[in-house]
């Protein structure tokens, strides 16, 4: 496996590939196995008759196809969660083509071998393409095998087409990460740029029906190419061609940029601006007051990115508010949202109160507080635990930090409390944004409901942050903790939705943190809930377990 750059890349990423592939396969299997219950659910049929067709349409559910296997899987698996898994994995692979090694300093060693830079990038790109294919391949196998037993009635062509599309979608963002990494040598920047591009493209595609000026941009969005014509039904579309062309072009850019640059030097990207020191000697930047304590340093670490997180979580909310007038006024635009939206919201909101779907509280919750909001908030909290706490142990700076006269538990406590404080700040900012949106677009939401939704959202993040903290304290590995926590989050997310329809798993619903957060009512249609206390308690318990364990174990072994 160590004979060349291609096989070495495969070996390096084997474990991660197995984890991502297994996750995607288990999720696919689970969702597919639920299909017979959905199809045969009397409740579901009754509900479909009850809901006005235009509301169904606005939420991406076509009464004609929703109960078919293709419609169900397109909505549940291939429009939101599937792309998240695919892109998340592909971007991490793409950033590792050159940037991760450049930052770690092993790139010099690698390039001291008699191989060209172009050769390195190309062999790794090929390895990444192969590894990325494992995720959709596993999903395809699950659907091919489950097609008969679960009565999905999918065509083999359709299964292949949608999974090839998913793979190509991932490759576009892997290529963006690779090209950015080639240019900057910073894996963090590479991941950030690629993921931001993905979120932007998703929004452009989903909201194009509401805003005329988004029509043109949406035609250039990889999400439109991927999902615009339901690949499970439409088979091979021209969109797939665009995905191939764009990932190829971006891959070529990665090769070209990497071959023409100084490697692993501070002067690599913009020499003329970096040659002069940024500040004069003996002058500390203003942010230096943060370096007075561990808590301050935790903020210092996030002093730039916190604004990106806030913007990242607030913009979906604002866009959703701004879309409400169009939605309420224009049934045609509502209908145009077909296929672009995750339909698990149906299960979450539709069962007990179908009319809520057509209210501002239901609609805005469904966009900003059910999927993308929790996604970003959970990533912020879980990722914060990983980068601000667990990474110190892995990077080896924890020894240095703890050589100062401080107790382990106070170091951990300061970091965790600060992280929680930052989550509160983001939630407060989000609340303010919601109040402004509520005023501007006349959505007439109750102030207490706005506060309640944001408190719940924050506590959901706190819960999963606490879980990953506890896991890390036992495993000693931030990566494993994040992986397990993410799997639990995705699993319980679907558990909450599906348990409303699928009788055998109905009793388990109360175990899902998403049930504590969402319940049977949209977050914006209710005030702070007693169940939110469970989220808080979970987060606190996770932190307490971590503090106890962290205090009594060997570090960095």
């Amino acid at each position: 496996m160590l004979s060349n750059a291609f096989t070495k890349t495969i070996r390096d990423n084997l474990r991660a590939t197995i984890a991502w592939t297994a996750g995607a396969a288990v999720l696919s299997l689970w969702l597919a196995s639920m299909y017979p219950y959905i199809r045969d659910s009397e409740e579901m049929k009754k509900l479909l008759e009850q809901i006005p067709p235009e509301v169904m349409a606005a939420f991406g559910m076509d009464p004609a196809t929703f109960l078919t296997g293709a419609g169900y899987l397109s909505g549940q698996l291939y429009s939101f969660i599937g792309p998240i898994i695919m892109i998340g994995f592909a971007v991490s692979l793409g950033a590792a083509i050159t940037a991760t090694e450049e930052k770690n300093g092993t790139l010099d060693m690698l390039l001291s071998a008699p191989i060209s830079r172009t050769h390195v990038v190309l062999s790794r790109f090929a390895a990444v393409a192969l590894l990325a294919a494992f995720v959709p391949a596993a999903m395809a196998v699950v659907l091919l095998v489950g097609n008969g037993p679960f009565g999905l009635r999918l065509s083999v062509q359709g299964i292949l087409a949608v999974n090839v599309g998913l793979w190509l979608l991932g490759m576009v963002y892997a290529s963006i990460a690779a090209a950015t990494g080639s240019l900057t040598g910073q894996p963090g920047t590479a991941r950030g740029v690629a993921l931001s591009a993905a979120v932007l493209a998703w929004f452009v595609s989903v909201f194009a029906p509401f805003f005329g000026w988004l029509d043109l941009p949406s035609k250039g969005s990889p999400f439109t190419w991927y999902i615009d014509e339901n690949p499970m039904l439409e088979l091979w579309s021209t969109g797939l061609g665009w995905l191939v062309i764009s990932s190829g072009a971006l891959g070529a850019a990665a090769v070209w940029l990497f071959a023409r640059r100084d490697i692993a030097t501070e002067l690599s990207v913009f020499p003329e601006t970096r040659l002069t020191p940024r500040r004069s000697r003996h002058v500390l930047p203003r942010s230096v007051w943060l370096l007075g304590s561990v808590a301050g340093k935790t903020v210092w670490d996030r002093r730039r990115t916190i604004f990106m997180w806030a913007a990242g979580i607030a913009s979906p909310l604002l866009i959703t508010f701004s879309a409400w007038p169009a939605l309420s006024a224009n049934a045609a635009a509502m209908a145009a949202m077909i296929g672009a939206m995750p339909s698990e919201i149906f299960a979450v909101f539709g069962m007990t109160d179908p009319e809520a779907l057509a209210t501002p509280a239901g609609f805005i919750s469904s966009r900003a507080y059910v999927n993308i909001g929790p996604l970003i908030m959970i990533i912020f909290c879980v990722g914060g635990v990983s980068t601000l706490v667990a990474k110190e142990e892995q990077a080896g700076t924890l020894d240095m930090l703890l050589s100062n006269p401080m107790h382990r538990r106070s170091v951990l406590g300061a970091k965790v409390a600060t992280l929680g404080g930052l989550a509160v700040l983001i939630a407060a900012f989000l609340t303010a944004v919601a109040f402004v949106g509520n005023e501007i677009w006349d959505t007439e939401l109750e102030p207490m409901h706005i506060i309640g939704a944001n408190v719940g959202l924050m506590l959901l993040g706190v819960f999963f942050g606490g879980m990953s903290l506890a896991l890390w304290s036992f495993l000693g590995s931030g990566g494993a903790a994040v992986g397990i926590t993410s799997a639990v989050a995705v699993g319980t997310y679907f558990l909450n939705g599906l348990a409303t329809i699928v009788d055998p798993i109905a009793p388990l619903r109360i175990l899902s943190p998403f049930f504590w957060y969402l319940g049977d009512t949209a977050p914006l249609a209710k005030g702070p809930q007693p169940a939110y206390l469970l989220l808080l308690l979970g987060g606190v318990a996770g932190s307490a377990i971590a503090a106890w364990r962290f205090n009594t174990r060997d570090l960095a072994v």
């Binding site: 501070e266 020191p277 080896g396 020894d399 240095m400 006269p405 401080m406 174990r553």
Partner: protein
């Protein structure tokens, strides 16, 4: 002499793998204690256990008479530490890093940081990620020294330093000792230990093999005399001498390399009976003693 560091049967296992076994160690106030051993012998495990990063499997230890586990915070207040595998916050400048750690200690170290940075010629205002290995090491050294701790625990402190900086650093350690402070110096660079250390402990295969003063170790080392004769001498006559413990004929037999334990007088007298072309002597070096310990646990 007061013991600053004292361990009794200190043992650390990583699962089944031994880190250090039954360590009985005493480091006295005001001395520079050299802690020597080959890679993987257990030096860093010992240090990380002393600092409570690792919990002992059995045995105990005290620093300043305080328990290394229970009183670790009080110990660290009076201790400066340089890890063997140094990791720093890459995105900070050295000045920011040192300020942060001074703040965590709640002491103002600005004057000392400036003095130390001048002495080591360290640019404090560059991001740490852009510093060379040697310069990063200097940041770690300044951090260990800036609050003038009573005890310095240094794991391979001179790695990455150029010869000039290494001299500067060793001078500094001697100043630290003159002030009555204590240094626990883990190293495998022997000339350096020979120069500054008062006493030396040798670890090998997870065990402390021996502890003695540097002078005593030097006494253990045997001198050699190389004599070239005009004609081939009889090696047996030299081997019969009381002070000669080894005879090694070379160069077709006209040259003898003699290992001496004791006085050289009778060797010279016997050699003078023949025509001598050249003679050279070499006094015993610490290195030979250490190598014998490293390679053979039963030596001495």
């Amino acid at each position: 002499m007061v013991a600053v560091i004292e361990t009794v049967g200190l043992t650390k296992f990583y699962g089944d793998a031994p880190g250090i076994i039954d360590l009985d160690l005493e480091v006295r106030e005001g001395e520079i204690f050299g802690f020597l051993g080959p890679n993987g012998a257990g030096k860093s495990t010992t240090i990380r256990t002393l600092l409570n990063f690792l919990l002992p499997t059995r045995g105990s230890g005290t620093i300043f008479g305080l328990d290394i586990h229970r009183d670790t915070v009080a110990i660290k207040r009076r201790t400066g530490y340089l890890p063997g595998d140094l990791s720093l916050y890459d995105r900070m400048t050295a000045r920011e890093f040192l300020l942060y750690f001074a703040n965590l200690r709640k002491v103002d170290t600005r004057t000392h940081v400036r003095e130390l940075a001048d002495r080591f010629q360290l640019d404090l205002d560059r991001p740490i990620k852009n510093l060379s290995t040697g310069n990063r090491q200097k940041v770690g050294l300044v951090n260990a020294l800036m609050h003038e701790p009573e005890l310095l625990i240094l794991d391979e402190p001179t790695s990455g330093l150029d010869p000039l900086m290494r001299q500067e650093f060793l001078d500094l350690l001697e100043e630290v000792r003159e002030e009555g402070r204590t240094v626990f110096l883990s190293s495998h660079i022997l000339p350096e230990v020979e120069r500054v250390a008062d006493r030396v402990g040798i670890v090998r295969d997870q065990h402390l093999v021996t502890v003695d003063s540097v002078e005593a170790f030097k006494g253990l080392a045997n001198a050699t005399v190389t004599i070239r004769f005009a004609s081939i001498p009889d090696p047996r006559s030299f081997a019969a001498l009381e002070s000669v413990i080894g005879v090694d004929p070379r160069n077709g037999g006209d040259t003898l390399v003699l290992t001496i334990d004791g006085t050289i007088d009778e060797v010279i007298k016997m050699a003078a009976e023949q025509e001598v072309l050249s003679i050279s002597t070499r006094s015993g070096e610490l290195e030979e003693v250490f190598l014998s310990y490293y390679t053979d646990a039963d030596a001495q």
